[in-house]
Symmetry: C2
Subunit: 363 residues, 2 copies
């Protein structure tokens, strides 16, 4: 037994393939005296196929006990017909909610070697490095009442956006803490001009700022203007903090700016456990990409960089995380490219497994 435990949930589609490459990195660290206790289990459609539920209670219990969960991706067309309550996504949402992973960190970083893949002009995105902190356990994703009911002859669909003061304050703190280690700037986004929950959001973020982080530069923006400004000139931002639903759209938008989704990791963090480590789940930003699953075309880098985030945020192994990130940059500089990033002259196409091997070789 080591004192570092990991639960791996490869999930669906390309999840298992990219996770196989992360395993190689984990194994390499094992040979260097940084070992992990790794267990593996099912989530999403894979769990539904085996157990009739997208997350078995035993898996949920294991996730609560480990230091960090690494997740591949969930979902696929095969499961589209399932009832809402057992869709692959519910497995992921249950993990987030029951582990209380309230701060979703989604870096949008543009790798120099890949700036050409962006649909945006090179000067707009080259060197881009922003961090979106999305609230992940509340808001319209989980608010009650919810559902579809009949009123007279009509169906009516309802969801509730609900935020408490403490839910807003804790994710605001995550954003301010991160900003202090980066550009020291936070922009908070909501629709306070239309939604009362947005007014509360704005007020609480401002109060936390004034009381605890007056040294950090804070601004507020309406989420629609935020979408515009991210498109127009994303480099104006350092850390963005926003709610669950706006964060879903804005972080995907920010990810797409970089042009290389297959490169982007994420971390979802909760409160510290008894051992001081935060509850944590790490996953790539990309989805399960069922259309290319099993063909060796998937880019394992987003999942590998998610493991690097685990090294940094769960295990306080910043140097090891740097090492992984440098190895990724080095293979890109060598011109190795998986199928999602082909096209540039002078680059070499590689498979998912070859990319993983090349990164291990650089370590």
């Amino acid at each position: 037994m080591t004192n570092r435990s990991l639960l791996i949930l490869p999930g669906d589609g390309i999840g298992p393939e990219v996770m196989a490459e992360v395993r190689k990195i984990i194994d390499w660290f094992g040979t260097q005296g940084i070992a992990f206790d790794v267990s593996e289990d099912l989530v999403g459609g894979a769990a539904y196929d085996a157990h009739g539920t997208p997350l078995h209670d035993d898996t949920m219990a294991k996730a609560q006990e480990v230091d960090a969960v690494l997740l591949g991706a969930v979902g696929g067309p095969k499961y589209d017909v399932l009832d809402f309550s057992v869709k692959p996504e519910r497995g992921l949402l249950r993990l987030r909610k029951e582990m209380d992973l309230y701060a979703n960190l989604r870096p949008a970083q543009c790798f120099d070697a890949l700036a050409d893949f962006s649909s945006l002009k090179k000067d707009v995105v080259a060197g881009l490095d922003i961090m979106i902190v999305r609230e992940l356990t509340s808001g319209v994703y989980f608010g009650e009442p919810r559902g579809i009911h009949k009123e007279g002859n009509e169906r009516v669909g309802i969801n509730t956006q609900r935020y408490t003061e403490s839910e807003i304050a804790r994710v605001a703190r995550s954003a301010f803490e991160l900003a202090r280690k980066r550009g020291n700037k936070v922009c908070s986004m909501e629709k306070a001009n239309v939604m009362e929950s947005g007014i509360l959001w704005r007020d609480v973020v401002q109060e936390v700022h004034d009381a605890e982080y007056p040294d950090v530069e804070l601004s507020h923006m309406y989420a629609d203007a935020g979408a515009m400004q991210l498109t127009r000139w994303p480099k104006q931002f350092d850390v963005i903090v926003t709610d669950n639903l706006f964060g879903d759209l804005l972080s995907d938008l920010a990810a797409m700016l970089t042009g290389s989704l297959g490169m982007l990791p994420s971390a979802s963090l909760g409160a510290p456990m008894a051992n001081g480590r935060p509850k944590a789940l790490y996953e790539p930003v990309h989805g399960s990409a069922p259309d290319i699953a099993g063909q060796g075309k998937a880019n394992p880098i987003a999942c590998i960089l998610s493991f690097a985030m685990a090294l940094r945020y769960s295990f306080d192994l910043g140097d090891a995380a740097d090492k992984v990130e440098k190895a990724v940059e080095a293979v890109l500089a060598d011109g190795l490219r998986t199928a999602d990033l082909l096209g540039e002259e002078g680059t070499t196409p590689v498979s998912t497994a070859e990319m993983g091997d090349a990164i291990v070789a650089k370590l």
Copy 2:
């Protein structure tokens, strides 16, 4: 008395300046036998300053009677301190709600002469022509319960996303009707993987399609994926239909893709009145831009093109609308540019008023 009535609400910031140029166009049509009864009134901060409310009941009543309302823009930093209930935006939201303007048409069109102003690569946006149809009178903007209350020691902010079957069906019909006159393709966006109101949205759009518009090509996309795809390759879309809140973000994003917000009009349409014309409000997509107000820097084209939409959708004067749109293209081809579009070689800077005059001259 003509049989065409217009209520002009210039509003705040650059609203009055750009509306002055629209007046020139209206006057020109008057000399050509296409006359309008024009009245003018206050909205937003301007109405608050005069009456202590962002929309006086008398103005609301007038808006209900005319064939079309033309609005400039509302809001400004001066009004940020006001209570939610009397903020400039409430005037606009009251007009939308009480006139029941459920279909907000927001074209995102990239003018060839201006493609360089986009932050996106030229081939991604040149020739772009999509139409976003946003539901405008329901959803989280108007759902009850809403507000901020105390639970124990904590403030809690609540808003309700609520859609009925008929609210979804009518805006879906607007989208399908428009698609038939365009590329015959509709993409509907929601978060059916997370929100029950999104499931109802998806189901009803599909049902309306199957029963009444089987000839139109229909697809569904999650709104976060929609934000990504709009950024990656917007030309894949023809008509997009989505709810009030997603529409707010996605239409602003789509507008920003074109690089020239100062060019984009919008129409908000309701049910037909006794005379067969729909309830209608037209407004530019840009805001009140208080920072440049009163300096002759504002681009009046978005507001002028909003009037062109009024000619087309309220008065069935498609030829007259074409004429205005051609005149706008002609002045752009001549190289005339307001302050928002400066920088290209061989173009001539003009003021707001000079731009208006030039467009009239082309008519």
